[in-house]
Amino acid sequence: MKAEFVLVALPVSALITPSAFAVRYLTVEQAQQAIFPGKSFTASPVKLTSVQRKAIEQVSGVRVLHDDQQVWRVSGGCWFIVDEVVGKHEFITYAAGLTVDGSVKQIEIMDYRETYGGQIRDQKWRVQFVGKTSKSTLKLDSDIKNISGATLSCRHITDGVKRLLAFYEIALKH
């Protein structure tokens, strides 16, 4: 099998293009089946009271941005939660499966989008993005599918999961 390592020269315009990296990995239904295959799901959304929100923040040490939490009860007593986190460069929707005793079964990233807030000072770059929705993937000579660079930290997901575990203790457990 031959190996290739070819540097593809990009046109100059591409060099100043922000990396509109957006991937939809799983829909809600797909994430449900990925974490709890064959189970049935009953939507049971939760709206936090201000007391609950403060308690979750205190227990987890993580700020709660939304009072509404998308929750499904899984047949057999487990929980399926869809949550969002915002990082410095990224906006992520993910699903967490919690077991009957409230421990993490599995985490799946559902949507991953890189954002540019505060990063773009050059107006020319901004113009290129007018009309692009967060879901559209930039077309180059090919879609941007794989990016290599210094490792992105998933610390925001770690914090999000910490918050969800506190959410379970305070709003779901009983």
């Binding site: 031959k2 190996a3 290739e4 794989n146 290599s148 660079g149 998933c154």
Partner: protein
């Protein structure tokens, strides 16, 4: 190359402190899903074994007990220790897994009260038969510079063992492609992660990139980064990024640190491993490229 009945499944999980993405192409959706799950399983296992933070990981056990008693580790950990020791020798110390004291000083890694011998290096590590690791002096190892690449390789094995013929495993930029299709990999701009500097095409090959743009921290008023020259403990302060392609991601991952430290002088080590390197300067321009001239499976070319 891709027949109409070919499907592609992509999944992403937070593992190894980053986002691990596995893409598999084939015809049978259930086969692909099972393979991808086995791939994530292999990465989670490497995470458990080689985490610096997990108290029960092999790394923590070695740091506690490899000096003076020696510890028996999992064959995978043993393999990584052996690879790390060889890389340290080949790079004459530029790659060294015993650099943790500086990292703990800069708060990149937790202070755990381990004994540090200030002059200890990889030479004080002995990787013996029977999966035993022994430290001749009190030292602390951190496999952060090599374990991610190793995890990618084990995930690729798991995918192949499950009958998947084409795919890519990408652990936060350290990746490996396998199968007949080549993959286009975009490289982030060294000084602005929201821009792209170029693209590389890979087939049947691994590539790892190290840069410091996401990782800068201030220590006594100076920016420091976890990329260190193992010989001096000096952080690579220039904002650049280094990409290395090799047959295996374990070597590609570790060699980025060697190139960071040695630059052009890394050519000999890269040749040893049949690896190629690409260094991007602050403005995103490729400043130094190395084509391995030894018997790599295929001709390597930069355009």
């Amino acid at each position: 190359m891709r027949s109409p009945s070919n499907i592609e499944i992509r999944r992403c999980q937070p593992l190894l402190g980053t986002f691990v993405e596995i893409t598999a192409q084939g015809r049978d959706e259930r086969l692909l899903t099972r393979g991808i799950e086995a791939g994530f399983g292999a990465i989670a296992k490497v995470n458990r074994l080689m985490s610096f933070h997990g108290r029960l990981s092999d790394v923590s056990r070695m740091n506690r007990d490899a000096f003076p008693r020696g510890v028996i580790v999992h064959p995978w950990t043993w393999q990584v220790m052996k690879a790390a020791k060889r890389l340290a020798e080949e790079s004459r110390g530029a790659f060294d897994i015993t650099v943790a004291p500086w990292l703990t000083k800069w708060d990149y890694l937790p202070r755990r009260g381990y004994q540090f011998s200030p002059t200890a290096t990889s030479r004080d590590i002995f990787v013996r038969r029977g999966y035993e690791v022994f430290f001749r002096r009190g030292l602390t190892v951190d496999l952060g510079g090599i374990a991610k690449g190793f995890a990618v390789d084990r995930a690729v094995d798991a995918l192949k063992e499950n009958g998947i013929e084409c795919g890519i495993v990408n652990a936060g930029g350290d990746m490996r492609t396998f199968g007949p299709a080549s993959q286009l990999i975009h490289l982030r701009h060294p000084t602005d992660p929201t821009r792209l500097a170029g693209a590389v095409r890979l087939r049947e090959r691994a590539m790892a990139t190290s840069g410091i743009y996401f990782e800068r921290r201030k220590h006594h008023g100076r920016y420091v980064s976890p990329l260190l020259d193992g010989r001096s403990g000096q952080a690579a302060r220039e904002l650049i990024s280094v990409s290395v392609a090799a047959a295996e991601c374990t070597t590609a991952d570790a060699l980025t640190k060697v190139v960071f430290a040695l630059r052009e002088e890394a050519a000999g080590v890269l040749a040893c491993y049949g690896a190629d390197a690409l260094l991007l300067q602050r403005d995103g321009a490729p400043s130094w490229m190395f084509h391995s001239s030894c018997d790599t499976p295929g001709r390597t070319r930069f355009d």
